[in-house]
């Protein structure tokens, strides 16, 4: 069957033969529901004008597109069909490669780390930053949270060698900036301490999103995977009950040292930004942290990128390919639930504004 991406900046059309109830767009990695039970629509007869729309680019990306449309050699479909654990966000560098194991002691640690709220556009920002010629980034290593029992040398295997960094400086007369991006670092309470131990001079970039939009988007990600089955209103009411019960009788809360931050079905507590940022501000100076919001990123991409490049001491660079990555699709929220959430988040947002020293229009 033929599938069309719902992302308005992408709208890519491709052939899919797998059996999963959802897939990922091979260009922008948005998750697309296919089965009708999940509210998916599949397109069969699309005129050729939309089909030939592609990125103007040299041979490499044309070859990629040709592969994508080929029914047999399409390796994206192949991966999704046979390997259920296949994820677009997974880290592609193999730390158990023999060469990387041997050279781990001469490899460097990252200069900056990028993370943020759920569904706030961390992936899109990293893809944009990656286009800069002086930047090297790795995604989703999760070293400082649930793979923290490994040694630092394991972490170092993901990054380039010291030798390569010097060579780059000699050749281009500009320094190479190495970074890591793992979106979930914001939520764990001990990550900031662990980072301070190993890399005290690191630069941090945080991306935040309006809590109401973030929760709604996160809910539909779970729902499309079939993990969440009851309605959005019920889910929120349930969590409010849980918070109330846990505050009254603390012994009922389960003692969960490592998995607490990713507790799967938590929505509201993922967006207590002020509470989480305080942990980071204890360990690092204010100059080391750059806080961006999803709203300003959406309205003016070039301006926010200029800001981040300045923060990283890099020359400015304009980006050609402005596709948004990992975009969700969902119906409109009920007005009553929106009001409930706005009232709920008002004190937490106010705390955040005081912490940053900047007002955001999230209370609408």
């Amino acid at each position: 069957m033929k599938i069309k991406c719902h992302n308005q900046t992408c709208q890519h059309v491709w052939e899919y033969n797998g059996k999963l109830p959802y897939t990922w767009c091979p260009l922008c990695t948005s998750k697309i529901p296919i089965s009708k039970q999940l509210g998916g629509e599949f397109v069969e007869n699309i005129s050729k004008d939309t089909e030939t729309k592609s990125i103007k680019s040299p041979i490499k990306s044309r070859l990629k597109l040709w592969l994508l449309e080929h029914p047999k050699f399409n390796f994206y479909n192949y991966l999704a069909k046979n390997d259920l654990s296949y994820e677009k966000g997974a880290n592609r560098i193999n730390p158990y490669n023999l060469f990387r194991i041997i050279t781990s002691s001469i490899r460097v640690l990252p200069d900056f780390i990028l993370f943020g709220g759920t569904r706030s556009g961390v992936m899109t920002l990293t893809k944009y930053i990656q286009e800069h010629p002086n930047v090297y980034t790795v995604r989703n290593v999760h070293f400082f949270e649930y793979t923290s029992s490994n040694k630092v040398e394991w972490y170092k295997r993901h990054f380039p060698t010291n030798f390569y960094k010097n060579y780059f400086k000699l050749k281009h007369k500009q320094k190479l900036v190495v970074g890591e991006s793992t979106g979930t670092y914001l939520f764990h309470s001990e990550v900031s301490k662990r980072i301070k131990e190993h890399i005290p001079n690191v630069k941090l970039i945080v991306m935040l999103k309006n809590p109401i939009k973030s929760i709604y988007s996160r809910y539909y990600v779970f729902r499309n995977e079939g993990l969440e089955s009851s309605s959005f209103e019920d889910v929120i009411k349930m969590e409010m009950e849980r918070i109330k019960i846990g505050d009254e009788r603390n012994e009922l809360r389960i003692n969960n040292p490592e998995f607490g931050h990713i507790a799967n079905f938590n929505y509201l507590r993922h967006c207590y930004y002020a509470e989480k940022l305080k942990n980071w501000l204890k360990e690092f100076k204010k100059e080391q942290i750059l806080i961006l919001t999803n709203d300003e990123f959406n309205t003016d991409i070039d301006k926010t990128l200029k800001k981040t490049f300045e923060f990283l001491d890099l020359p400015n660079h304009t980006i050609k390919n402005k596709i948004k990555h990992n975009v969700g699709k969902y119906p409109k929220m009920h007005e009553s639930t929106r009001k409930l959430l706005v009232d709920y988040f008002r004190p937490h947002n106010q705390e955040l504004y005081n912490l940053i020293g900047k007002e955001l229009d999230w209370d609408k």
Binding site: N255, P257, E258
Partner: protein, 204 residues
């Protein structure tokens, strides 16, 4: 990390992953690892259960068709002062001898309707193939005010868009009207297509 009141222990396993375990009540100073592929309660804990009502000294009314794995760990958690009541059944009769040898805090009941147990803290029901609704409605009298229900049902029963039996859907609606549901935990990847409900009960 360990405190006096701790009942569930998190041990570090291979490649940084965590295992869960309880302290074996029959042999002291020995952990009993809790396998999530064998026990639905362990799967729910690993998938992010938040309010866990089974504590030390708590009373539990327990109904499960595959009871061997979960009941041992529950009896470890509640200790000698707690109590597990197990109603007799055709399917359960095979396990009776095994259970008796395991712990002293397990007692068997012949008939739930005639029994005199009351003020039970938790009602644990795992009976996908049987008519779970009848059992829950019959035995909710024994729950105390503010007690908890832990129930596993199929995912199809909850989903609004999916086609499932109307009887099953009505069952979920009825439970929703009798109890106040706190959390729904999907048991993927350990058990496919199953959800554990945790609900609170108030006397009306």
């Amino acid at each position: 990390m360990s405190t006096n009141n701790q009942t569930i222990f998190w041990l570090s396993g291979e490649k940084g992953y965590k295992k869960i375990a309880t302290l074996n009540s029959s042999r002291k100073n020995e952990y009993r690892t809790w396998k999530p592929y064998r026990s639905k309660l362990a799967a729910a804990i690993l998938n992010g259960i938040e309010i866990f009502p089974i504590l030390k000294k708590s009373k539990i009314l327990y109904f499960d068709t595959f009871m061997e794995n979960t009941i041992n760990h529950i009896s470890d958690i509640i200790g000698e002062d707690g109590k597990i009541f197990v109603p007799k059944n055709n399917e359960t009769s095979n396990f009776l001898e095994k259970i008796k040898s395991n712990g002293t805090n397990i007692s068997l009941i012949n008939d739930i309707n005639k029994s005199t147990i009351d003020n039970v803290d938790v009602l644990y029901v795992d009976a996908l193939n049987q008519n779970y609704l009848d059992f829950v409605i019959n035995s909710k009298i024994h729950l105390k005010n503010g007690g908890y229900l832990m129930l596993t049902i199929e995912t199809e029963d909850i989903f609004e868009n999916r086609n499932s039996n109307e009887q099953q859907k009505d069952g979920y609606k009825k439970i929703k009207s009798l109890f106040r549901i706190i959390q729904e935990i999907n048991l993927i990847p350990f058990f496919k297509g199953q959800v554990m409900l945790i609900a609170k009960y108030y006397h009306s």
